[in-house]
């Protein structure tokens, strides 16, 4: 039998094959939501509980000087949306760990698909999924009186959310590929939670205390938070947006590279 495989590959440009593969992997990822009853609930519930809880508990903080808005809902809804993104991305890492444990990843690794394509499928699927809890939390927040961020604010926030989910998915994937076990799940979730909350999540930078103020100042995700929050507390400006984009680009590059390195090293 002649080798039919190689001519078939040469007949189609690589970029089309890669794109088709990424699409197919994303299509598979949606099965988790659509074919497992109740699978979407934890991802939506966690940020919503946090939103309602934080709002009910710390809402009075807006009385302090330094807050540019009187509505704590407006102030923290972008945090909850980003938290949802972090949760979704980390969950993608947990799913990958499960796939590794059950041998599914071997199927992907034995195929000629490039490793970055396999990673992209997981990461982009997480980005797409993150829009669901984000929309749910946003709806609740708007019903509770959060300010409408405007179309520009909304777009910026959603973009930050999707990109943050990608960052979280890279982090989760890296851990999954390194530990090859679902027991790393708490680390995936906790890592993202810590990253997102050690920012100006609860209050503006001037009102943060002690060590948190120092960490928030250097934490790149603070820029993401500020960019995502703009429309909810004021006007959307390029000056507020580009640092967030830069932070996301840097995090994606770093964590993506680490995840890819782990993917390439699975055979060692």
């Amino acid at each position: 039998m002649e080798a039919a495989a190689i001519p078939a590959q040469q007949a189609i440009p690589a970029w089309r094959t890669n794109l088709a593969t990424i699409g197919a992997l994303m299509a598979r990822a949606k099965n988790e939501l659509l074919r497992v009853p109740g699978a979407a609930i934890p991802g939506v519930l966690a940020p919503t509980i946090f939103f309602l809880g934080l709002n009910g508990v710390f809402g009075a903080l807006t009385q302090l000087k330094g807050f540019t808005t009187g509505s704590y809902e407006s102030f923290i809804v972008p945090i909850s949306m980003l938290q949802g993104a972090g949760f979704t991305g980390a969950a993608a890492g947990v799913n990958l760990a499960r796939d590794i444990e059950q041998g599914w990843l071997d199927r992907l690794l034995v195929s000629p698909a490039p490793r970055w394509v396999l990673l992209a499928g997981t990461v982009l699927a997480a980005s797409a999924r993150s829009l669901i809890p984000a929309t749910f939390v946003l709806t609740i927040a708007l019903l509770l009186g959060a300010g409408w961020p405007g179309i520009d604010g909304l777009l910026v926030t959603y973009f930050m959310v999707a990109a943050m989910a990608a960052v979280a998915a890279c982090w989760g994937s890296m851990l999954a590929l390194h530990f090859k076990s679902q027991s790393a799940a708490p680390l995936m979730q906790a890592g993202m939670m810590a990253l997102i909350l050690t920012t100006t999540a609860y209050a503006p930078l001037a009102l943060l205390q002690g060590w948190l103020a120092d960490v928030a100042r250097v934490n790149p995700v603070t820029q993401v938070v500020e960019a995502a929050r703009q429309g909810f507390v004021g006007e959307v400006t390029w000056a507020e947006t580009w640092p967030g984009l830069l932070a996301l680009a840097g995090l994606l590059a770093a964590l993506g590279a680490l995840a890819l390195r782990e993917m390439r090293r699975t055979g060692e």
Partner: protein, 327 residues
């Protein structure tokens, strides 16, 4: 194009302190079925994982379909089909979706993938279940699906890691037939198994691996011949033993008797010698109760090379293949 489908030289793999594969050499020609036989933990799966680029060797070299498994891994992956021991299936997908995903992974365009999926599903008799979730499939169905997925891009070399472990006899036979058909079509098959009968039935060449080393290699027949010739075991009426022994001794060397009613004579030509023996005894008026041709089995080869029996032998033969012929 190389006429050797798989070439392995000094292949080694260690995990921390443990040397799981200790420098093995083997060659598999194109169009051959190679059976890699050994007990659990012998190193079969480790070897397969190295040859399918899932694991990096820590020593030695290997080429599959003419490409080095380390430096040309991607080309190897494009040329091989793999069905691993743990069927790498997603319970939430349907059978059809899985084969089509595999087609995409292999770089086949959408229409082509759809066509091949339809063909393969029919070939492995999964058309009725094609649009049901894999999680609802039986073990046999899952293996057939795994096999079909491995074939979607018509690979030159097919790796099957314990393809029938845990299957019922009917499913096992189905897989065997499929493997034979594939081989007839020209596919090289590298198959690992812990079942002697499987290696004996399917393989052109067998490599016996134990504790990370190949302890014997050759065709099933040549391996068995190495161990010894077959013998004919005769159950006779009392009183005729002495005369029967005398007659049989003229045909071949006698084996030590086990009881007073059995005569065992080694025969060089196996079944071909049965008529001689029967005629000779008949001419002498000796009545034969039963006659069996006992051939050395691969287990005998295994015992000779390693000192112990191959475990997990659930299929009939453990002492030898027996063809009972009522005289």
């Amino acid at each position: 194009m190389a006429s050797t489908a798989i070439a392995v030289a000094g292949l080694e793999r260690s995990f921390d302190e443990v040397l799981a594969v200790q420098g093995i050499d083997l060659e598999v020609g194109e169009g051959e079925i190679y059976g890699f036989l050994g007990p659990n933990g012998a190193g079969k799966t480790t070897t397969v994982r190295m040859l399918t680029t899932l694991l990096l060797p820590t020593g030695g070299r290997a080429t599959v379909a003419g490409h080095d498994v380390v430096s040309e891994a991607r080309r190897v992956r494009a040329s091989i089909g793999v069905a691993l021991q743990e069927a790498a299936l997603d319970p939430l997908m349907t059978g059809r979706e899985l084969i089509r995903l595999q087609a995409t992974l292999q770089g086949l365009p959408g229409g082509e993938g759809k066509r091949r999926a339809d063909d393969l599903l029919e070939r492995v008799d999964l058309v009725a279940a094609a649009d049901r979730r894999v999680g609802t499939y039986s073990g046999g169905m899952q293996r057939r699906l795994d096999l079909a997925a491995a074939l979607v891009h018509e690979p030159r070399v097919l790796f099957l890691d314990e393809p029938t472990t845990g299957l019922d006899p009917v499913s096992r036979k189905t897989i065997w037939e499929e493997v034979r058909t594939l081989n007839d079509e020209g596919t090289t098959v590298f198959l690992t198994t812990q079942y002697l009968e499987e290696a004996d039935q399917l393989a052109d060449n067998v490599g016996i691996i134990d504790s990370g080393r190949i302890v014997a290699e050759g065709t099933p027949a040549s391996l068995k011949a190495e161990i010894g010739h077959p013998h004919i075991r005769l159950q006779l009426a009392e009183g005729s033993i002495a005369e029967a022994e005398e007659i049989c001794a003229r045909i071949g060397p006698l084996l030590p008797p086990v009881d007073g009613r059995t005569v065992m004579v080694e025969v060089e030509h196996g079944a071909g010698d049965i008529p001689r023996v029967v005629r000779a005894l008949d001419d002498a008026g000796i009545e034969v109760g039963s006659l069996e041709l006992v051939r050395p089995s691969l287990d005998d080869v295994f015992v000779a090379k390693t000192g112990y029996h191959l475990e997990h032998e659930t299929e009939g033969s453990s002492e030898g293949e027996e063809e009972a012929v009522k005289a």
